[in-house]
Symmetry: C2
Subunit: 138 residues, 2 copies
């Protein structure tokens, strides 16, 4: 994620301890944390970081296209650092576990003109639901 920090510096960002910590927390694959989870992990590394700064930083990262907001459940938004390789999500209906998935085919092409109601369709978001191995065997 230090390439992320580089890109941000390139865009004129001041490199503060808070922003560095948020970027660190958002590192890895299958990472889909809520703002409060990001805050909790950030506090572990930098105790004085505020909720407001976490929200600010996440919002900035989203509007720069470096992080995606996903709303797979009906609760808090989740923040997904895997923004540069398009993907969809598979969610456990019981425990909430989330995985990144890449279905085959092009779902945009599967919406016939007669079902477009004159819209200019540019994007599709898919959420698969089911039970993860742990929850299925319990």
């Amino acid at each position: 994620m230090s390439d992320l920090l580089e890109r941000l510096r390139g865009r004129g960002w001041r490199m503060t301890a808070q922003r560095r910590v948020v970027a660190e927390v958002l590192d890895g694959e299958h990472v889909h944390l809520t703002a409060d989870e990001v805050h909790a992990r950030a506090v572990a590394k930098l105790p004085e970081i505020s909720r407001a700064t976490v929200y600010n930083t996440l919002g900035e990262l989203v509007s720069l296209g470096e992080v995606l907001e996903v709303s797979t459940d009906k609760r808090a938004k989740r923040y997904d650092p895997n923004a540069h390789r398009p993907h969809h999500h598979l969610v456990c209906a019981r425990c909430g576990a989330i995985r990144d998935v890449r279905p085959i085919g092009n779902p945009l092409a599967d919406l016939p003109d007669s079902e477009r109601f004159g819209f200019t369709v540019s994007d599709v978001e898919m959420t698969y639901r089911g039970l993860c191995p742990d929850c299925a065997s319990a």
Copy 2:
């Protein structure tokens, strides 16, 4: 929607003025109202109906499978009476207009085993995004 009222009576529901009004408000196609919108329209017909009752009734309808909860934007949940014919949604990114759509093919089959991570996948929810005719021409 009076067949809905019949089904509810059959399930032992007391038929109150409040429940009748909520059911009336949720009538039609392409209906995707928030709880507050349902409440506002219900108040127009039955001024003394409370927010709590609207939430209670919507929750009951959802758990009976008569109404779907959809979260197409990141704001309030929307309530969709079109629960008996499976469908997906097409949302205008600018004004929020929502249409019911039926893509061709079976998106469940498009998720290869190697992308299932051992999950038992049972369902998929698709949200197409774009601009509605009005917003595209503005």
